[in-house]
Every structure is written in C-alpha cells, then in structure tokens.
C-alpha cells in the first residue's frame, strides 16, 4: 500500500510551530498511536485544534506532559486538569470556540469557504470583537475557517487506496479534520482491500489522505482502547 507509513515516519513531517488539526471527542476517535509517536518527536510550540485535550496523560493530554504545546483551540478543556494548570501557569494559550462553530470552521477550511455567518455565540464573550450582521432581523456573527499544516485522524479501517471508514460516534470531528490540513495522516486499526468498503460507507475519500498508519500500540478490550506492552519495540 503506497500511503502506508510507520507512525514515526509520518509524524516526522510535523515541524515546530505547526498548527495540528486532530480528530476525536475526548478519547473517542482520537489518533492515539500518532499522538504517542508525536511525543517522541522533537516538534515543539505546536498549536492543536481539537475539541478537547484528551485526559490527563492520555491522548492529546500527553502533549501537555511532553510540553510540546503552545496553544490549544477547541471547545472543552475543563475536564483535563493538566490543561487547566498549564493555562493558569501561562504555559498554554487557550482559545475557546463553541463546539458547532469548531466543526463548521474546520469544514469551511477544507471546503474553500473563508468565513461564514452563524447564530451561535451571538451576544456572548466568545465572539467579542467579531463582526456582527443581521439577516432577516436575526443577529449573526462572522466566523473564520480553520486550516492547519497537518491533520491527524482516526478511523477504524482504511482500504489500500486510503479511503476511510469511521466507527459509530468515533467519527465525530474526523471527517472535517481530514479535509482541512495540508498533510493528512490517518491512523487505522485495519487495512482492507480496495472495494471492501462500500461507496456509501466511505467517510473520507482517499484523495484527502496522504499517509495511513496502522495502530500497533493500542488494542480494544472491553470496548476501550488499551495501551499494549510496548516492550517489544
């Protein structure tokens, strides 16, 4: 398979100062293997755009432990106490965006839409300073598209071309994230033959995907992704 890379090879493309777009809702649909490989890579001062920052020491939370983050852009960071602490200590910038605006801005970034007027957030602190306009007598706020240098996504399966199949609500932000990065790295649990995923079930067409990395660090047990003993590495 042409696009297949090890996590290390793929992650090397990330440079200090990059904006990373990362799929996942908490740890669900989070590219855990890619994130782990990133903690072993020397890129620093990263901006991560993702709904959350995982949990303490898990998922994107590991990038706080490894001190590779400059800024987090997303909708909900309160549940990761490391993020709250890092922010309080001025070690982490945080930009809070309503969850639907985050999803729509990522979609816009991948869809050639520069900005759009939404109702969400009108009248709140989160849109202070942003342009407002009325349409049909209702107030809207102008929100900008989000793009990044590298996208990290997680799917259940890829086919040999790189088409992705997402699993249930682990899909979440992944399809949008996959459209909005200059380089898109997809972590999957399984690679299947081209044609094995039905045309209507392809969540991300292969043309969005640059590299596919096989998850070889986490196995699913009791419905949860459990880190394997990595001693063999």
């Amino acid at each position: 398979m042409k696009k297949l890379r090890t996590a290390e090879e793929a992650i090397k493309k990330i440079k200090t100062g990059d904006i990373l777009l990362v799929g996942g809702f908490g740890l669900s649909g989070s590219p855990l293997t890619l994130i782990d490989a990133l903690t072993e890579h020397d890129a620093r001062e990263l901006t991560v755009v993702s709904n959350n920052l995982g949990e303490e020491g898990r998922g994107l939370g590991r990038l706080l432990v490894s001190q590779q983050l400059k800024k987090a852009i997303g909708s909900y960071f309160t549940t990761n106490r490391d993020a709250v602490k890092a922010w309080a200590a001025n070690d982490l910038e945080i930009e809070l965006i309503p969850q639907g605006t985050l999803a729509e801005s990522l979609r816009a970034g991948g869809a050639g839409i520069a900005a759009y007027f939404t109702r969400t957030g009108v009248g709140t602190e989160l849109v202070e300073g942003k342009e407002m306009r009325e349409f049909d007598g209702e107030p809207y706020v102008l929100e900008q598209a989000i793009k990044g240098e590298v996208s990290l996504v997680k799917a259940l399966k890829a086919d040999s071309l790189g088409n992705l199949y997402y699993h249930k609500t682990a899909m979440n932000f992944n399809p949008e994230v996959a459209t909005a990065g200059d380089l898109v790295i997809a972590e999957v649990d399984e690679i299947v033959e081209t044609g094995d995923i039905a045309p209507e079930d392809i969540g991300t067409p292969h043309i969005y995907v640059d590299y596919v990395v096989l998850n070889d660090r986490y196995i699913k047990e009791g419905g949860r992704y459990i880190e394997q003993n990595v001693g063999y590495r």
Binding site: T78, W87, E104, R119, V122, E125, K168, T169, G223
Partner: protein, 220 residues
C-alpha cells in the same frame, strides 16, 4: 425544601419528561437532563447526541460497552432502531439549523426575561463551552432543568445575569424542584408551585420578578 436531594432531581426530571411529546427530537444536556429517559413512560423520543448520533438507545450492560459509541457526556450508549450516524459538522448543522425540537439544559442562572447563563462563572477559569451555545442558538424550544438555588443557597433565577450569558436566545421554560415557570413576551410566569410551598416562600428563593398564572397549579 431548599436542599437539593436526589428526590428533587428526580422530581425535576419527571416534570420535564411530562412536558415532552411522543416523537420529539430532544437533546439532553449533562446533569439532571440525563435522568429524564427513565421517566418517559411509553412516550418515545428521538435523542440527539451532538457528537454525531440521532437515536440514543438504552445504556448498555457493562460487557457490551463500546467507547466508540458514546453520548456527548462521554457515557457509553447504544443505538435505537432507526438511529443514524453523522459527523460533528452535520450534527451541529442539525442543531443550529433548527431541526431539534427541544434542548433540555442545565443552567447556572436564568434572568426574568429568560436569558440563560450556562457555561461560565466569573472569576473562575473559562476553559469549556462545549455545545451549550449551539443548542441555545438552535433548538426550537429550550427547557432549563435546574435546582432552584445554588449549593450555597444563592438565587439562580434572578433579575439580571451576573454570569456570562450563553447567547441572545432565551429560555421557554424553567423547571426546578420548587416551581415551574414559562416565559411569554419576556415575562416570567409562575405556572406551577410545589405542594406546601407558598408564593411568599418562592419570592424569597427567587430574585427575579414573576407574575402568577391565573391557572396556577399548586400541587407540583
């Protein structure tokens, strides 16, 4: 009456459940709203989860948990028959586009015109908003299900918000353990009051001005 007991939460959940119609498309916020499915009787709702599912089914037994199938509160769920899966942008297109009938949300404060504060407390770190503002902006009907006062007995139903608001869109209804209010033309109307609870008592626990409905029910 002022103590927030499990019984109070159940009472609130039951009352909100009564408000829902068979076939309603409903988004349930965290906290008290998550109790509502237990009190629906034979009404069937379509529960929308903003992380990408329409049709939340019953909580799975422990041995069938799959963390790839969770609610927006990150709890394991199942899919009901006819459920559909979609991405976050499509989920919020559904919410923001006005296709969800009812959002049942918790609130930190609500003012006497129905304005909602449900995401941030001044002086505390503001590091989370989630989908609260999208739901406030987009749902056809907003029901706040909340305890009548804060844990330190401060009024939450007040004249003017002191916490940051969640949008310009206002609540349609507030259900607490003490009372039920509806809003009409930015006026707060008391429609139900708890049994053995007087309007004077309610005025003490409620900073906001409200009018009493001529059809006030006193057996809530």
């Amino acid at each position: 009456m002022n103590k927030t007991s499990v019984t109070d939460k159940v009472k609130i959940a039951q009352r909100v459940a009564d408000e829902l119609q068979d076939g309603d498309v409903v988004n349930l916020g965290v906290g008290i709203p998550t109790l509502i499915p237990d009190y629906l009787g034979d009404k069937s709702l379509f529960l929308q989860s903003e992380n990408g599912l329409l049709g939340i089914g019953p909580t799975p037994p422990d041995d069938q948990v799959d963390m790839d199938l969770i609610s927006a509160s990150k709890k394991p769920i199942t899919m009901s028959p006819g459920a559909s899966l979609f991405s976050s942008s499509n989920s919020f297109a559904m919410i923001r586009g006005g296709h969800v009938d009812v959002a049942i949300l918790g609130a930190l404060q609500v003012d006497e015109t129905g304005e909602i504060a449900n995401w941030a407390v001044p002086g505390k770190d503001i590091l989370g908003v989630g989908g609260a503002m999208d739901l406030v902006a987009g749902a056809k009907k907003i029901i706040l299900s909340m305890t009548h006062q804060s844990k330190d007995k401060k009024p939450k139903i007040i004249k003017k918000l002191t916490f940051p608001r969640s949008g310009v869109r206002k609540a349609d209804m507030v259900v607490t353990e003490q009372a039920v209010f509806k809003f009409e033309n930015e006026t707060m109307i008391l429609t139900e009051i708890a049994e053995d609870f007087s309007i004077d008592q309610l005025k003490e626990s409620t900073e906001a001005n409200f009018v009493v409905s001529p059809e006030l029910k006193t057996d809530y």
